[in-house]
Amino acid sequence: MGESEVAKVLRLVFREVLPGDRRKFIAQSADSPSGGGARDFRFSPYDRFEDVFELMFPGRETKTRRRNGHDVDIEIYTGRVSIWGRGETLLPLEFEPPTSARPNEGRLTRLNHLGLVVPTEAGRVLLVLYETDDNRLWMAFATEESLQARQWHRVVNDFLLSCLERDRPANHAAQGFLDLVTGKQYCKSSGG
């Protein structure tokens, strides 16, 4: 894979990193009885996000998971992602459909394997996953300060900032997607 070049952004998905999420990125959060899912990043409602994740992840893989005490085969979405600011290295990334315990949440799994460093200043932080027209996936953080300073492209900046600033309970993460090809977008607010 050669050096990445300027590429058009096709679509993006984002979710706010709440203070309690930070440990997900450093492999310290599997100490809760909730199990391995504590290292996942959840998107809900699943039916709103399913289409955009389906478009972004090129691969499909069948994996066996424990559901209600039984082994079941589920299809997960797979892809490879580069981390913004860390060069061209491609890392595996998976998106899994809901579990029986959380029937309407899709999950980006095992983020702690990516070695991401969450910004600790500059306000609230969004994890942004985006796809470019050279068939690449990128992951980056958008800070509240950078959005307020309007450092992102106007279309992306307006969407992320307006979604971040919507009213929602303190423990609810801002999340949504913006598809620049189809024009579809979604921002989860307190109303769901």
């Binding site: 050096e3 300027v6 913004w84 992102w152 492209h153």
Partner: protein, 380 residues
């Protein structure tokens, strides 16, 4: 052309040449605003920027999907920009205070309380200077560290032996390789072991302080000489322009007819007060033009509103005079132009037991009816 102020460009140029700049000035003279402007220019100081029509991933930008294409995408850095060829640019900020510790600035151990652990553990904390330096040591990267209220914390202690390494000629070379003159200092690594570190030539430090503030610790000559000084002074023209003052050449009538005349009277009174403060206490104790900009940064639309603003401005100015000349009634009286014939401020001698004491009498009330006359009197 850029939209950055002349002061901002001067500071960038000093940073480029000397690496460390110490901004000094009276309170409310715009230091914090200027630091924010320098921070913006450091990150985005490119001209002929173009805005992509649709969102684009631009590899060399400072933001993944940036508002504007950076230098690598056909733009030019402003001439004063430090490390102009480096496209990964980041600003780090810290405010010193009496409780600042070396671990906040360099490195150190901090207790880590974990409810599930039997005992308290420790982890190594990386301070702002180390964070900024590590960023600048990365390829194609440059960092600006902003330190506000430098003398409100134990600055000499916080810098420790990094002070020598701070000097421009004690840094690493352009490619972050050691030179014979490179100076190292000790930091704790993540395993709690000290290891030497040298500062990148691409890490810049901009500090600000108000000399009138009482320092937590004295800043000695050895510390001060590591910095290129930049003095920020009160600027009456900024206040005049923003607030629509009548101008320094206008003659002020006995009764004001326009808001601009009231604003002008307030600015002239403030200038006169600052002149007295400079004589009586020193220029670092003056009050900056920010005193006029805390409530509004647009011209007052009516005469009444201008008079109300003027009352608030004057109260703030007098509060500053009280603070600066605390315990010095003669200094206060001279600054407020106390005069036996004045209807505003008078110095009276009153009996105090067997003694005579000087007391500054002030106007019983300051309102729309007398504020303009008071300001004209003070302005002389």
């Amino acid at each position: 052309m850029t939209n950055y102020s002349q002061e901002c460009l001067q500071i960038l140029e000093l940073l480029k040449d000397r690496k460390n700049v110490l901004m000094m000035g009276p309170p409310a003279s715009g230091k914090t605003r200027l630091m924010s402007e320098v921070a913006d220019a450091f990150q985005n100081g490119f001209i002929a920027q173009s805005t992509p029509k649709s969102p684009q991933h631009i590899p060399d930008a400072t933001i993944p999907i940036p508002a504007q294409a950076p230098s690598g995408a056909g733009t030019t850095p402003i001439p004063q920009l430090p490390s102009p060829d480096r496209t990964q640019r980041r600003v780090f900020k810290i405010v010193f205070n009496a409780n600042s510790k070396p671990r906040d600035f360099l490195s150190g151990l901090v207790p880590e309380v974990r409810p599930d652990a039997a005992s308290t553990t420790f982890r190594v904390a990386e301070g702002k200077l180390i964070q900024a330096n590590k960023f600048a040591l990365e390829p194609d990267s440059a960092a600006l560290l902003i330190i506000d209220e430098l003398n409100r914390g134990p600055a000499v202690q916080l810098f420790g032996d990094a002070l020598v390494a701070l000097e421009a000629d004690k840094r690493l070379d352009e490619n972050n390789q050691p030179l014979p003159t490179t100076w190292t200092f000790d930091v704790l690594n993540q395993h709690g072991v000290t290891e030497p570190m040298a500062l990148s030539t691409h890490v810049y430090v901009l500090a600000a302080m108000n000399q009138a503030d009482v320092s937590v610790e004295p800043l000695d000559v050895a510390f001060i000489r590591r910095w290129e000084p930049f003095r920020v002074k009160p600027n009456s023209e900024i206040a005049r322009q923003l607030l629509g003052a009548a101008g320094e050449d206008a003659s002020l009538p006995e009764i004001p007819t326009t808001p601009g005349e009231v604003v002008e009277a307030a600015i002239r009174a403030w200038i006169r007060v600052n002149n007295h403060i400079e004589t009586g206490r020193g220029e670092e104790f003056q009050l900056g033009h920010g005193v006029f900009l805390t409530r509004n940064t647009a011209p007052p639309p009516t005469l009444e509103q201008a008079l109300d603003f003027a009352i608030a401005w004057w109260n703030a100015i007098v509060a500053h005079v009280d603070e600066v000349f605390f315990g010095d009634v003669f200094g206060m009286a001279a600054t407020l132009r106390a005069d036996p014939d004045s209807a505003f401020y008078r110095l009276e001698s009153v009996a105090f037991g067997q003694d005579q004491r000087q007391v500054l009498r002030r106007p019983v009330i300051i309102d729309r009816s007398n504020i303009y006359s008071l300001l004209r009197w003070i302005a002389g």
